[in-house]
């Protein structure tokens, strides 16, 4: 990248980088992976196929969104695994079993997610727990609750859900629409006053307080929202598999965390965003899709995924360092 030496630049008043490098890089990487995947399996170049791929990605996307929220306020949420499982099993057991109004019951599941997130919030913002410990505890506890609801895979998911998930809106697969909705919701949140407060708290709690930010309340709300997102993730998996699983949540903890970091959200809070994590999460899905499409030796494909991960992040690090170099 050539740094134009306009007189302004010489005068130490640098123009801010017009492009946000974080977003640029993440998008670029995603795009590349899409191209690779498409060229590897042409059959994928078809809206319904893509819809299916996105559908399998949905749970991760939502958990990643949840994780991002927690990380933005300088926290971390391991309990997404538990919340996910509880929501997933609730959907498969008593929403499915119940005769009556499934939409309403699904709403109840969301509320449960919100509540579980709020508990994290109280522990962290109220009782001053370290986020890692607080959510480690609740993760295990929620996981147990999920096992109580459903001892092992099974249950029946309401048709409403599966049909919605497999349906289309104006020809576009529902799964894609859902992603769009998620991103829209994030945009609304980000551009709200509350959105700014989230970043302020993550940026520097003390200064945020000096500016009259209700730090505790912000934290609490953020974790509640994280719970909500994780719950949606659980519901999505239930929809995609038309069954419940009490252990389905745990693998998403690490995946969501790496999605967040790959997306460029700093674990020290205040920088990044859900949009980035969603893109990164989808990149992860694509990586494993590519790995399995190339149909290599097991160990080769494991290695390949690991290397792809590294390549992505290194590329990002390099580009961003360049970009940084331009700001004083």
């Amino acid at each position: 990248m050539s740094t134009a030496t306009v007189p302004v630049e010489r005068r130490l008043r640098l123009p801010r980088p017009r492009i946000d490098w974080g977003i640029a890089v993440t998008t670029l990487l995603l795009a590349t992976l899409v191209v690779v995947d498409l060229s590897l399996q042409p059959a994928l170049a078809d809206i319904t196929q893509i819809g299916l791929l996105v559908q399998t990605a949905l749970p991760l996307l939502f958990v990643a969104a949840a994780q991002t929220l927690a990380v933005l306020v300088r926290g971390i949420d391991l309990s997404v695994g538990g919340v996910f499982a509880v929501a997933n099993t609730m959907t498969a057991v008593w929403v499915g079993a119940a005769g009556g109004n499934h939409q309403l019951l699904l709403l109840a599941v969301l509320v449960a997610g919100l509540a579980m997130g709020a508990i994290n919030g109280v522990l962290i913002a109220g009782l001053g727990f370290q986020p890692f410990i607080a959510t480690l505890g609740t993760w295990t506890a929620y996981g147990g609750v999920a096992l109580m609801i459903l001892p092992s895979d099974g249950g029946a998911v309401p048709l409403v859900l599966t049909s919605i998930l497999n349906g289309t809106v104006a020809g576009i697969p529902a799964s894609i629409v859902i992603v769009a909705v998620l991103l829209l919701a994030w945009r609304v949140l980000r551009t709200s006053r509350f959105g700014t407060q989230i970043y302020a708290v993550g940026d520097d709690e003390e200064r945020a307080r000096l500016n009259g930010t209700p730090v505790r309340r912000v934290r609490l709300l953020v974790y509640a929202l994280a719970g909500l997102c994780a719950a949606v993730g659980g519901i999505m998996l239930a929809g995609a598999t038309s069954t419940g699983s009490p252990t389905a949540g745990d693998p998403y903890i690490l995946m969501s965390l790496s999605a967040v970091v790959i997306g460029g959200t700093s674990l020290r809070g205040g920088a990044g965003g859900v949009g980035l994590s969603v893109m990164a999460a989808f990149s992860l899905i694509l990586i494993s899709d590519i790995a399995s499409a190339m149909n290599l030796d097991v160990w080769v494909s494991v290695a390949a995924s690991a290397l792809l991960l590294l390549v992505m992040v290194t590329a990002r690090a390099l580009v961003e360092r360049r970009a940084e170099g331009r700001t004083p």
Partner: protein, 340 residues
């Protein structure tokens, strides 16, 4: 020179041990067998696995990182060992070599984090993946009829020396050493400084990259060694042998009172954390709970315990009438793109 050490670190370590003790007493009251020598020795052995896995983790976390490759390095420690040993290499040599290679793998982590500026979580995750790939390429299943684990590892993990199992002694020695390293050595100071604020550390003339490298290298070695003794104890190896220790290793560090964002904590705290987690998961089955109930209780007890022990620590602090302010770790360059 206690006044040179930030008081709250000290306290959190103490209260972590207190928590462990309380749990142990409760368990003993419920089932007297719990305090039996056999059981205590068992617990020490189990705890030492966590303790070693969490050793490097502690250093890495203190320096502001995280090592997710620990479980795979443990698997490496076990499987590679059995590979070399069944291949005819003398046990002792094989163990030394495995630990050495573990350290080298750790260095790879360090290089990625320190020089390529790859976020620790991703770097260590990826390296873990590569190690996993390598182990898969070995074919996993050893075909020799011989015992897959050399006698040295087995006896280290299962034999006794005086009242305690050998591993426990090893662990004790290592803990003392690491404790000294952190609290008394220049290297320790550098680790804390880097974890507290990388930029300040750099401007203070600390070679941040080298500190990081060292931390990850030690982590690799410790994890590999944890794998060795675990394999020795189990008398067998398999790919997932390290999996239970991924979160356990980090949890031990944090329950021990360290900040996950780096800068403060102690290895003795981690030791307490490891013991606490082990005692807890060993005592809960005594209460004849369902698996589900057991998980719930486990989670709740961790929260309750940590909360009580920490507020206990705060109380002590107030008794000492120390001016306490929340030691909010300052911004790292990671987020502050202020000049240059």
């Amino acid at each position: 020179m206690t006044r040179l050490r930030a008081p709250r670190i000290h306290l959190s370590t103490v209260s972590a041990f207190a928590l462990c003790a309380v749990l142990f007493v409760i368990a003993t009251l419920h089932a007297s067998g719990f305090a039996s020598g056999d059981n205590v020795r068992q617990l020490l052995v189990f705890a030492s696995f966590v303790g070693f896995a969490a050793l490097g983790q502690t250093l890495v976390v203190l320096s502001g990182g995280m090592d997710l490759s620990v479980p795979w390095l443990m698997a490496f420690g076990g499987i590679q060992l059995s590979h070399w040993a069944t291949g005819g290499m003398p046990g002792g040599a094989a163990i030394a070599l495995v630990v050495l290679v573990g350290a080298l793998i750790g260095v790879v982590n360090g290089v990625g984090v320190a020089f390529l500026r790859i976020p620790p979580i991703i770097m260590t995750l990826a390296v873990g993946g590569l190690v996993q790939a390598y182990l898969l390429s070995l074919g996993l299943l050893d075909s020799s009829g011989k015992s897959p684990v050399p006698a040295a590892a087995v006896s280290a993990a299962s034999d006794r020396l005086g009242p305690l199992p050998i591993v426990a002694w090893v662990w004790l020695v290592v803990a003392v050493a690491v404790g000294l390293l952190l609290s008394r050595s220049a290297a320790g100071r550098r680790i804390y400084a880097v974890g507290a604020n990388e930029e300040v550390a750099r401007l203070s003339g600390i070679d941040v990259a080298r500190v990081r490298l060292a931390a990850y290298a030690l982590s690799g070695a410790a994890a590999a060694f944890a794998g060795v003794i675990l394999a020795g104890y189990v008398g067998n190896t398999y790919l997932d042998i390290g999996q239970p220790y991924l979160f356990a290793s980090i949890a031990a560090v944090v329950v021990g009172g360290a900040s996950i964002l780096g800068g403060h904590g102690t290895y003795w705290g981690t030791v307490a954390g490891a013991l606490t987690l082990t005692v807890l998961s060993a005592m809960l089955p005594l209460f004849h709970l369902s698996d589900a109930g057991l998980k719930v209780v486990y989670g709740v007890v961790i929260l309750l315990g940590v909360w009580l022990s920490q507020s206990g620590g705060e109380l002590l602090a107030r008794v000492r009438r120390r001016a306490t302010i929340s030691p909010e770790p300052p911004h790292s360059p990671e987020v502050t793109t202020s000049a240059p």
